[in-house]
Symmetry: C2
Subunit: 228 residues, 2 copies
Amino acid sequence: MNKHISEQYDIELSQIKELLMEMGGLVEQQVTQACASLIAHDTQLAEQVQDTETRLNQFEVELDDQCVSIIARRQPTAGDLRIVVSVMKAITDLERIGDEADRIAKMALSLARTELPSDRYADFRTMSEKVSRMLTRALDAFARLDIESALRVIQADEEIDTSYNAFVRHSIGAMRDKPDEIENSINVIWAARALERIGDHAKNISEYVIYQVKGLDVRHSGNPDIDD
Amino acid sequence: MNKHISEQYDIELSQIKELLMEMGGLVEQQVTQACASLIAHDTQLAEQVQDTETRLNQFEVELDDQCVSIIARRQPTAGDLRIVVSVMKAITDLERIGDEADRIAKMALSLARTELPSDRYADFRTMSEKVSRMLTRALDAFARLDIESALRVIQADEEIDTSYNAFVRHSIGAMRDKPDEIENSINVIWAARALERIGDHAKNISEYVIYQVKGLDVRHSGNPDIDD
């Protein structure tokens, strides 16, 4: 009987991680499509991203509920508790990444109305590819509890910050040359800013990997067999 | 003996809420000082905000640990669990508000180098006062579990979004007129954007009040006496 309960418990823990990965996959797709819609002035794709945002929000609420339910019914400790806490924190980051993708889609819709030359987006495209890779790596690291990969994501975040700052400086120069295009330039900067934030969230997700694997403090609960 | 344990448990639950309020007070101060430093070109104050940021990050880690420790040792359910979960979520929002205050301080330092006329900041000042009030109200609502107050904060967030959009439109006009000041204008826009995000976080904190008081789902754990 106890074995049965324990198996069921393990299944529940796996399930929240699987659901998180499913949510992560959807978020990755949102980011990719939002960036593609901006670069290609594809309003239909941008609207699709905005529609999918609602599904992501539902995902957040449901998954959050499952985590709280596991805490209430299973009363996890040690490593199990770290899994649940990490999943709960990662949910918030994924939802926020979804918000940023939504912002990029909004900028895409504004920009599509103005028909700018597409070479303007070269830097944005490069940055978006870096950030997408970072997000994928962060999710993989979370799924496989791969600390090395998580550390690489944390390092990559600094690169993104550098790219972003260069991007803004470059855009400011462009705005001075063409004051008529200020509004559009600002919209592209907003989108780049959203990418920079997505990088921050990917970094957060990687930090939870380290917390799950190394998990320190807290667990001086005096229970010797919590070291699973 | 059981009564003693239960009293101790209640004390621990009160403690995390008190610590959260303490952290909230520090965050409020950071926001106020960051905005003041920007408006007054006070570099010393801006640097002080940046120094205090480290203390906030420590606060986050410590308080987070205490929450996880309560879950592990006390295995809270129902209302108690909702308190711990809400505090954990609010910690993240407070820490992010601290990040935004830090960003405002950074912009203050950039702007102080350029000596702009201070009437430029009138709209920023108005927005900062609104956002500060919103944050204070959100923290009060959390402390007193005041749903009405929480709902008012959630409504106020829409006003902030409107002010922010007007602010950006106005700034874009100003940039067209004075291309030399584009960089400074963008810095003020960044600071306003940070305020808008602070409003979002204050809204999140208010939503946790509603979750704590009304707390739904989750708690179909089949335990009849969890309805405390």
